[in-house]
Symmetry: D2
Subunit: 299 residues, 4 copies
């Protein structure tokens, strides 16, 4: 039986000749192309930590969390102005107003900001306000959107679709690259598998990280918040992701003030600023220490 | 542990109040809302058969297949003018030229035509040339596109995402319905599961059909071509889909002329007009015969 | 990257040389080997219907259902004496007493009986009382058990493991065949996939049927009861299975007496004798009618 | 729709009352019960590392690897004497001879040894030669085997079935516990999901670890070798597993001698003794250093 549409990693040179190490030897067998967003360097020496609220709900909430994110030592701010929601009757984000709040939070804290763009007609609008455009899981194969963010030239955070194969994911990235934009960071965020919903939201698929790194030179980070959907798992998932070779993390944070309003979306997966500090402390400690000790030891 | 974003079918009244039978009692517990596309009636007495090429490749190929589809007794024509492909380097469809060819094929055969629209900016253009708009699997959660096809008012064929839960699928349909457009036909087309690629392209999930019919009044059809990816399975998959309660089929057909050029995409799943005739003969026979005999017997 | 243990259908000649059509040409490209259990012929002209209770709970319940099964026109009786249960604290079956009840029900109705054997030490005991041994999903790769049922020589119903690939399934059957026992009937019973539990118990994977039939000459049947877990889906799932090429069905039935005790296991998936009659009527009608009409038409 | 057999973690008190923290409060909300195998303590202060060949192929190979494992600082030896293989025509292990070799290797190195038992009739034989019995993935729901290893009283390593839910896994462990044997160590080893085979053998599901630890007091370890199937991923998977809360690792090792014979099974996933040393160095360093520094910092 011949099955239509069947591809495997040996087809990557045909699917994504610009991004496959096999056809684009510029970065050799293991070097990562550094993607810069302001002073932040994805794929550089140190893992990047992006943090912020799931959605921008109002100015106060966003600024409070942005300050906490900055105070924790994170590198970048995240926050949704346009939110893809399962139901059209759920909160859809503040839109343009949300973008303005994000810019204010970015300016006050000095942190570059990334936000999701869902609508191909709004790429330019969103790009005006933020430093990096996110293409979310649900739109990983929204090819007109990929083309437009490719043309826009801004750095792109391309989340993996929740049922995407490695080939489909790198094929999606190739749509951006084909427009001349190689400023792409990939992001694993959990896949659908039979246990989804029993004890975690999705199945965090960390094994894809070394596979991505073997096949392309693009940096790859992990979203432990959406992958697990459980705040209590985010810290250990973050540490595991880094040990598995992730170039960074994108994490949802909520206020820990006792009188804070509960987030409108995905409250159960948001960690507190205190837990964020622990994660960043791990990143720093691991850098300082392991860089010296482990590498010496294994030499 | 509380898991963020976890929903089940009991949440459908909140996710899709317009489409859930639990909140919209107009169609009772089992009645289907008929969606009309010209004289074609989805959810009516007789299952609808849509057939045509995967992609519109040129005028001759399309007209030849359209005539064969008409001659086989099918109800509607399908064909892709804009093709979502895993790689940007693959054939992306003829675009506007393809739409014009589809219209010509529709006019000549008298068959209404459905085609995929991927770009929210092209909804009006595509709607001008065809009778029904398809939103494909990869765009099932492209919410701006759903809103726009909802506003456009044309009947919509909404394919299930390849990892979509029932809740996510009906939530996507609700985006269309919320714009005032209830002319929605759902389409199961195979999901990603561990056997995908071993003996079929996706896993055809026929059990979702009675679940859809229990939860909403929208008609639901099946795409056996993409689900199996194997031409030799399409006939039996089609018959099984109808027995499982499907309101119709959408099938890919290729020329059986010995000198025909191989289709540019998904050639291995296209059946010949001869096999299409057998499927339609099954539909007709089953209607005439089973309607009388089986229903009498079970009365 | 080379992945350990990776196989695909092209490895079947090595995995199961006795059962693969590619290495054992005795049954050509499409002929099925008939497996006889008494007068019942799996893989013969007419699909086989096996029905009965999930578990043998007591003499009265089993005889009542056995009579109803016989009265419905089914070919064989099923019933569990040894039950594999998720919890050791759940009802585990009546064991030897259950086997005796099954034999009595078989003798009274004249229906051959199949029951599951889980314990390699009990193969001979179970074989003494029944006509066909079932190896359940949970034991599909319990190789000592497969060897022992192979040696025993009785016909075997080998259910597919809930995550088994086609290669693993046929490899398991080869363990039985290697002991000289080719009296094997395969049974698809639903696989684990991401939707499992949302609207059906498992994902009924009908596409595997033509794949099995293409690769081996063993007959293959379907268990719509466990696959869907929803009584209301069993009739349509049964019809669909037959259209997809299944050589038969194995179905769970419960009493429809108003004062009947609810079954101790899997009550929600058991159909009534009335629904069983409808399914068997479909089998018969389809045989008589379609055999003439459809085959003539497609000639 | 009511679905038969549907359970979730809230059913654990009913499924496994002996092992659920909710019904057995002896270990509180987070304490782990220590399982001792000789001087090795699963669930104690320090993660346990088990290593050894996939299969015992001969005395020389096993002793050579055992010495390397000992020299690397690992805590326990593994090795298969009875091997569950997809095909009955593949090497099935040396059986009793393999057990004797394992015992010799254990005595020479002083390392306790774990090996798989597949046949309920051989539990006593296997238990005579080794310190811990492994029940493999394929037999996770072989309930007679679970009962017998429970009665035997030896410590048990219970691997997760490749499609097992958390509830099914803990239900399987309860079969052992019900016989009075609480010396159980759980082992995650990868699950079947749609990417299986594309870039890794199974999908390593590390998120299950905190879920296991939240629901039961049994220790849980990870098998990065089978989960990934790729030797080059084992080191990073091991580190990730420990950061995600795993109480240990079980790893396949092959000789790195240039003239060594390639292992008969799963060669592509076996690491060299040199890589094993790096993993154990990580374990030790992490213990010494992180224990002080990170915990102080987060206090």
């Amino acid at each position: 039986m011949i099955i239509a549409g069947r591809v495997d990693v040996d087809d990557l040179p045909r699917i994504c000749p610009l991004l496959s190490r096999r056809t684009n030897p510029r970065y050799g067998e293991s070097q990562t192309r550094v993607v810069e967003v302001g002073r932040v360097r994805f794929g550089g020496e140190r893992p990047v930590v992006i943090a912020g609220p799931c959605a921008v709900e109002n100015r106060e909430q966003t600024l409070e969390i942005a300050r906490a994110v900055k105070g924790s030592g994170a590198d970048m701010l995240r926050g949704g102005a346009y939110k893809p929601r399962t139901s059209p009757h759920d909160f859809q984000g503040l839109g343009l107003e949300g973008l303005k709040i994000l810019r204010e939070a970015s300016q006050e804290t000095g942190l570059p900001v990334v936000t999701e763009v869902m609508d191909v007609r709004l790429v330019d609008q969103v790009a005006e306000y933020v430093d990096m455009l996110q293409v979310g899981s649900r739109n990983m194969q929204n090819y007109p959107l990929l083309v437009e963010v490719g043309r826009c030239g801004k750095p792109v955070l391309l989340k993996r679709g929740m049922a995407a194969s490695l080939c489909e994911w790198l094929g999606a990235a190739e749509y951006i690259a084909k427009e001349g934009n190689l400023e792409i960071v990939l992001c694993e965020r959990g896949i659908k598998a039979y246990p989804s919903g029993e004890y975690s939201r999705y199945s965090l698929d960390l094994s894809v990280i070394p596979a991505v790194r073997a096949e392309t030179f693009l940096p790859v980070i992990v979203d432990p918040s959406h992958a697990t959907g459980v705040a209590a798992m985010v810290e250990s998932a973050s540490r595991a992701a880094l040990e598995f070779g992730s170039h960074g993390l994108i994490i949802e944070v909520a206020s820990d003030r006792l009188d804070a309003v509960k987030p409108k979306c995905d409250a159960a997966q948001a960690i507190t600023p205190r837990t964020l500090r622990k994660i960043i402390h791990f990143v720093e400690t691991r850098q300082e220490y392991l860089a010296e000790r482990l590498h010496v030891a294994s030499a």
